[in-house]
Symmetry: D2
Subunit: 348 residues, 4 copies
């Protein structure tokens, strides 16, 4: 693949000239807009020598030839890891782990408000909660839908925490985006390419969960769909892969954390709740994820797990969560070999 | 789960009465329309004793309480296997295996027409070909789109074969349905519930591929989404699961054929091309699938595999395919212990 | 790896000269005796040019340089598939599938004799039965041991069928070999290298089951351990691999049949009983295995499965087995496109 | 299963009486000797009421009926976790992680001595090194054998560290035991029951690696084979399971650490080297394992990894290892929320 990066000051005409040149050479290509950076990607196999023809064109910053199938997601083309702003004042990937916490599903006002206030007090930075739930069979509780979105907005106002929620189709993404701070793609939709393309055109960070049996390359290629649409804010979320052992709901693959760090600049967070499916394993796996270098956690917390409509057995209580945050803070301090600077949650 | 089946002569009022009764009992429920059959499904746990209250209501044919999460797809509730009409005059599940064949992707008129005529002559019953291609990365050939759909219609006219093609989003499904005979859901979208729900409301048979790491129950629950929408024509397609061995593209799990026969009334077909990824393994695995009792095959055939834009290494040539059809016919004759009656392709 | 094959008429002195030459070149090597064929294998990386030095030495038939890690098991070095004699008059790999049948475990005289006579009458060629049972926990029935071996000899005398039984350690192999016709290595011991080495020196065919999560290459390398010891009679047995789906005991990977045929000259048989763990799936999977080109089957049959001490739910009754043999015969006849010549069991 | 535990002061006659009573009841049973504790295990299904008959017999401490297939390894029967003495003065499971480090294979005196001294200085407690190597194909370097054992003894003398090495067959175990402090069972031999039984009778701690596709239950049942023989010192070692993703050699399943802590009293250690196969992932995964509660680590360290005969790419240098030990110490201190007390390696 050949990747032509344009300079920031390049004109529309410069871009056209690159495209014409590719077209004359019989190449197919794709223009990738970006905030600040823009690229022309051509997947036809390029001889290294001919890339110099493009380098000389006006407005071209660089031309790279790569065998990588996810160039924008790679460190090779996409550059080094850098902090990513999620909402004004809140960044991920700056060395301070970011914690998203909340119930699996939004069930009712009281449940959501109590949990939101509770996780915020314990130090969470983002409130999570599902309004549209992907359920294996059609007769299970499918979420509160638009009513759930409204409750999430209310909870944001009360707690001061930005919110993340799952979207499952292009329409849902378009509809939900104006109301919600971060959009989540679930494991089942990691290769829902129509959804990924839509998210590429939406100005919201995307929490992209790994598919149940996705390789790391497939995951990064899914991220590439979003990046190629011009949305540069993709957060990768490991949530366990499917294996033969059924003692845990999935098998948490923590080795992807340092592995991804060597491959991509995108931040990596871990969801120990879906990965294990067992409350008693969530805290040890959270600490392990941080020790392995994760940029953050996504943790299911419920004000009354035994009454949860969904995934109660893997939800922490508010007390469990507060205790986990305290322990996590100590581990992080040790890892940094310096004074604690566990990020303060944004103002509420 | 409690499943209330209404009689064919039941009125709208009868249905309302059942629903009111459920609502009064504090139960949530879902009405499942059907051509001829209609159901009210309530997933709240029911004590067996209280099902008799519903049995007495007018218009109720039967009330079943089941622990099965895919009742309409099950033999227990959904009934025994029965032939399913795909287009007028062409049925699957009637004892005669049905063969869908054609290229991975529609590439151009000549490729498609040559292949369509060839597979038809060799005895295929349905032409397959992808217009919208799900590709792991955004820079790969994504299919001809609407132009591909137009070519498929032309190929249907020339060859006399009905056509099947993949759809990847609700909009694509709505848009493609009027033009195409059978709609395919690919492995990556098996749990794209928005897509499944849309297909539940479309009057077209659906070829539902198994997800790469889907259990049999998850697969049947995905089918249930379509059935619950009132579309009774779902064909299950085994296409290999992901395992640790990389000698084949996937691991073809043929034991699901007799397993599914014991669980569901839905027909089961096998795609040996995607399962193995190797042309030399397609014929033996096709014969094996038929010997195991498959209701049909989905085989990639290309008039010039070495020039294919997609999946050439796993595509049969037209000659390979004709030879396979001859051998398959012999095996089937033996299995039936009677004279050959390999289904004649519908008129062209 | 460099493989030097000696001629049959080569002398001990010729062999020594090859070895000295390798030693002078600083290479490590291993001499592989064979009945008729003998080899010197050197795993140090060889430049192709220097292999000619060895070609000129007296007694050398050929010198091959290969990247294959299982040269004797490969078609490249080991040659084409050929019939293998198991006992005088009984061959595998000659186009006629060979069927091994019998109980999971030898339980008592009556059970074994009844089953042996029954499977022989139905057309089985070899009697299988476990005397030493590998059991996951130490308190389960571990087999009758030496008493079981005595019963197997008795059953051989009564039924006229040669017998196959599992051995689990080098001592067991040494002790059992004089009494039993074919020695089986179970899935759990596929990489028990001490056992494999011992079997390399024993003049008995070895039925080598695939490990639960062994790749095809690892399986062939396990076979190579036996072949490298001079025992050329290894039969590969596919018995299902471990996957995420628990509806069947294991996942039967039938695509290895044509895959192995392209890689090795060794015969390949299939055990549908352990693969599926369900009686109702054994017959369809047996027919599928034969349709895919298997050289034979290993089927659990019990005169009274409901009383079996081990694996009753996956054992066929004698009637089931006889019915399967009839159907198998028809499929095979069709595949061969000629008159039936289902092998006659050897005289009894 | 019924588990009868005898008191320490019980006589041989008491034991005989229990056994006679079981035999009269038609039950099969197995006597499990122990240092201090002894058990009679009967796997026949027991009605709870009849266990009281045994409770009254002289010398009987307790009678338990359990559905667990690994009672001695369970917390239910086997009791709570407790420190285990490996050699005089060195314990595992006392809250201080224990680190075993050294080369994959013993290659020569210099390599072993340099590495042994180095890892000891950095704080390792046990020296690891393979003398008998399980290799996938027979032509790979198989270890120095008895010469390797002699070098390990020499390294122990020089470094003051006890040594652990792998054994692969009953004979090897018997032969090696007098010379070596801790015996290792590799992943490939986790269900080599002849080997496990032999180790049950040897007075040496056993490091039992998890099989590549072993469930947690199968692993504990393998441990049970050793415990049932009277050897109470089994250490469980997670070393990665096989999955579909090939970016890492195996998939490290750290969630088994807290899971096992809830099931068994046996200590659990982690081998991040074999799990990942990549040097750059070893340190983060080591820290993660400790944060998850592991009782120790097994780390491959080589004085010159680029020259290693085996597994060089996953071996740490001595400097890497020293750095890891420093970081690990900090994480542990934080987790204990108290002053550091990183165990001092035993005197050298």
């Amino acid at each position: 693949m050949m990747v032509v990066e344009m300079t920031e000051s390049s004109s529309r005409r410069d871009l056209d000239r690159v495209c014409e040149s590719l077209a004359r050479g019989g190449r197919s290509f794709r223009i990738t807009p970006g905030r600040g950076r823009s690229f022309v990607m051509s997947s036809d196999i390029a001889r290294r020598e001919d890339s110099s023809d493009y380098r000389a064109l006006p407005g071209v910053r660089s031309v790279n030839v790569t065998t990588c199938c996810h160039p924008l997601a790679s460190r090779e083309i996409g550059g080094e890891a850098r902090p990513m702003e999620l909402v004004p004042g809140l960044r991920i990937g700056d060395g301070e782990p970011l914690v998203m916490a909340g119930p699996c599903a939004v069930e009712n006002r009281e449940q959501l408000m109590t949990t939101a206030i509770g996780v915020g007090r314990a130090g969470a930075h983002v409130l999570r909660g599902g309004a549209f739930k992907p359920r294996s069979h059609p007769y299970a509780f499918q979420g509160l839908g638009s009513e759930g979105i409204a409750l999430l907005k209310e909870a944001r106002a009360s707690s001061g925490l930005p919110v993340v929620t799952e979207v499952m189709s292009p329409e849902e993404a378009e509809w939900v985006a104006p109301h919600i701070d971060i959009l989540q793609v679930g494991a089942r939709n990691m290769q829902n390419f129509a959804l990924l393309r839509t998210l590429g055109g939406i100005d919201r960070p995307v929490l992209l969960k790994r598919g149940m049996c996705a390789t790391v390359e497939e995951w990064l290629q899914a991220a590439e769909y979003i990046l190629a649409g011009g949305n540069e804010r993709v957060i990768l979320c490991e949530r366990g892969i499917r294996s033969f052992d059924k003692n845990t709901r999935n098998t948490l693959d923590l080795s992807v954390i340092p592995l991804l760090k060597s491959m991509t600049h995108l931040p990596v967070v871990v969801d120990p709740s879906h990965a294990t499916g067992r409350r008693d394993l969530v805290a040890p796996m959270s600490l392990a994820a941080l020790a392995a270098g994760a940029d953050g956690l996504v943790v299911e917390v419920h004000c009354a797990p035994e009454e949860a409509l969904c995934d109660g057995p893997q939800s922490l209580t508010l007390d469990d969560f507060a205790h986990l945050m305290t322990r996590a803070s100590k581990v992080l301090r040790a890892l940094r070999e310096e004074e604690p600077s566990w990020r303060m949650p944004i103002a509420r």
